[in-house]
């Protein structure tokens, strides 16, 4: 028995979990319908696939949500996991699930997949026969992903960095890398049986003034860590920045860089897709305006030619949306995609050059770290602030990079912290903003920039 196998056996033995029948699971995946695989759907689609978010505590309600989505002709079904499960707190999840079932009040903000188990959940995925994407935010997602894959969920979002720095305060980063290495390997293994399992990184991070170079570097690193383990279908992603031009620049640069770095580590047979997140920051408190914002995001997704869009709802600033509201959002976005035609290609050479330089210098610094493996290099780079995510709640993150919006709402770096971007690049970034000397003025500007989409 390999080490990996041993680890696996330990993981799936858990008081909240029914026994795993791995032979049966392999057989299931081998003969699963191609329609369950988003990697298959990507190959055969020439528009932007539409995926909402959505997870309810009970099976029944999740099923009803999928029924609503089906009516709206959704492309990719979401399965959002509740935050207890995300922190591996299956006990609390169970307690709240029971309460939800008993009282018809949702006591969880997502679907507690581990508690429901794969035997139950698979009934749902195969019934609807559309790709399901797992959205969680879990640093140690090993059990969760085993359960997901066994359930017929063949897209797994997340990664050691993107699901840790925005989603956790204390979880040890080195452990996260190892746990995700496990996830990558399981995905890679199952990918040999049928269409490839798709892995997707979570580009939005904290969704709060994250500079493009940080997003892209993290996307590239999670992609490389995944490809290293044998994953063959990977999605890089980012969220609406607040500036249409900056979105286009990011899309163009990330696509080029993904190719470049995949080749650099010798991988040429993987498919890389681009996912765009509708505005992930603070939403307006007005539902009509939220609809407008959502539609503008959809427009940008088409402008930047994203392969998939992950959408929000008009309820975003209020709470978990009702299923009808969520399905309506799907229908609206699909309508916009159907009628929005003749989209120009947007290129901004100066911005793309600057961003490319920033990305290369950070990537170079990561590769130059003295550690022996890529994940250790990345770990060290985060620890010493070479990678620094604004507004991360995590203790390891430096929080020394400061960004602000310029007059076109582009996110600009005004303090680079330990991030190794060149003086030239920093000068370029700073040249775009008129900086006040007054510190409280800067703080007020940042608060304003966080609320940039408010009424």
């Amino acid at each position: 028995m390999t080490l990996h196998q041993k680890e696996r056996q330990i993981i799936v033995k858990n008081q909240y979990v029914d026994s795993f029948d791995f032979d049966e699971i392999e057989e299931f995946i081998r003969s699963a319908s191609k329609d369950l695989f988003i990697s298959h759907k990507f190959k055969n689609s020439d528009t932007t696939l539409v995926q909402p978010r959505g997870g309810f505590p009970t099976y029944q309600k999740q099923f009803e949500l999928y029924e609503e989505f089906e009516k709206a002709d959704i492309d990719v079904m979401p399965l959002t996991i509740d935050s207890h499960t995300r922190l591996n707190d299956y006990g609390s999840a169970k307690k709240m699930l029971d309460l939800s079932e008993a009282n018809e009040v949702d006591m969880l903000n997502g679907y507690p997949l581990v508690n429901h188990g794969y035997r139950t959940t698979r009934k749902m995925t195969t019934h609807f026969n559309r790709p399901v994407s797992l959205r969680h935010g879990t640093p140690d997602a090993r059990l969760l992903i085993e359960t997901a894959l066994a359930s017929g969920i063949f897209e797994i979002e997340g990664g050691p960095i993107t699901y840790l720095l925005p989603y956790s305060k204390n979880f040890p980063l080195d452990k996260a890398f190892l746990y995700w290495k496990y996830v990558e390997r399981v995905c890679a293994d199952y990918s040999r049986l049928n269409e490839p399992i798709n892995r997707e990184s979570f580009g939005p991070l904290t969704a709060t003034l994250v500079p493009p170079c940080v997003t892209i570097v993290i996307q590239l690193l999670e992609m490389l860590l995944s490809l290293e383990e044998g994953v063959k279908s990977f999605s890089v992603s980012f969220a609406q920045s607040g500036s249409v031009t900056q979105d286009a620049v990011m899309a163009n640069v990330i696509r080029k860089m993904a190719d470049f770095y995949a080749k650099k580590i010798g991988i040429e047979d993987a498919t890389i897709n681009l996912v765009y997140h509708q505005w992930m920051g603070a939403f307006p408190r007005n539902k009509e305006f939220s609809d407008s914002l959502i539609n503008s995001s959809s427009f940008i997704a088409r402008l930047v030619r994203a392969d998939k869009i992950i959408i929000k709802t008009r309820d975003e600033s209020f709470g978990i949306p009702t299923m009808q509201c969520n399905a309506q959002s799907v229908a609206n976005t699909k309508y916009t995609f159907r009628v929005l035609k003749g989209l120009p290609l947007i290129i901004d050479e100066e911005e793309e050059e600057n961003l490319t330089k920033e990305v290369h210098s950070i990537m170079e610094a990561v590769f130059n770290d003295s550690a022996d493996t890529l994940w250790r290099k990345v770990f060290n780079s985060i620890k010493n602030g070479i990678i620094d995510v604004p507004f991360s709640p995590h203790v390891i993150n430096h929080n020394n990079v400061i960004t602000i919006r310029d007059e076109h709402s582009n996110i600009r770096i005004i303090e680079r912290g330990n991030m190794p971007i060149s003086d030239d690049c920093l000068t370029y970034e700073k040249s775009k903003v008129k900086l006040s000397e007054d510190k409280t003025a800067v703080i007020n500007k940042i608060i304003e920039d966080i609320g940039v989409m408010h009424e």
């Binding site: 935050s83 207890h84 995300r86 922190l87 707190d89 609390s92 709240m96 949702d106 006591m107 969880l108 903000n109 925005p166 989603y167 956790s168 305060k169 204390n170 904290t206 709060t208 603070a282 408190r285 309820d315 209020f318 709470g319 978990i320 949306p321 009702t322 507004f391 991360s392 709640p393 703080i443 608060i447 966080i450």
Partner: protein, 135 residues
């Protein structure tokens, strides 16, 4: 100078409001002990006892507050925290809720001030008013 312990309760990691609250409380002249996100009720109470705080100001954004805050009443009794002002704010339910129902519920758990989806500065104004009347 009032002492205030603040942070985000439970498994909630929404940190942005927490950073702004820290800045705003300081700007208003409070002495702030910020426990950050992902803080459990017991940790809050420990910090209140330890710092001898006047106010405990809890944020919750991800909708889980109810599950975590029901026990406030028992802890209050246990530690005899009579003079402390208990405040909670943010997004206090999963999905949309009626404000009045929520306020009543959280008051029954022992909170003096409950701010569901209320602008930070409006809430802090009310807090200062409340503290003024109390003293």
């Amino acid at each position: 100078m009032y002492k205030v312990v603040t942070g985000v309760v439970g498994n909630d990691i929404h940190v942005v409001a927490n950073r702004l609250i820290d800045i705003s409380l300081q700007a208003r002249g409070f002495e702030v002990f910020n426990l950050g996100v992902n803080t459990y009720l017991e940790e809050f109470i420990d910090a209140v006892v330890e710092t001898d705080a006047d106010v405990l100001l809890i944020s919750s954004l991800n909708g889980e507050a109810e599950g975590w805050c029901r026990e406030l009443q028992f802890l209050m009794a246990e530690y005899e925290l009579k003079d402390v002002t208990f405040v909670i704010g943010g997004n206090l339910s999963v999905g949309e809720s009626k404000d009045e129902d929520l306020v009543k519920k959280y008051q029954s758990y022992g909170f003096d001030l409950v701010f569901h989806q209320i602008e930070l500065n409006d809430g802090l104004d009310q807090l200062e008013e409340f503290l003024g009347k109390k003293s």
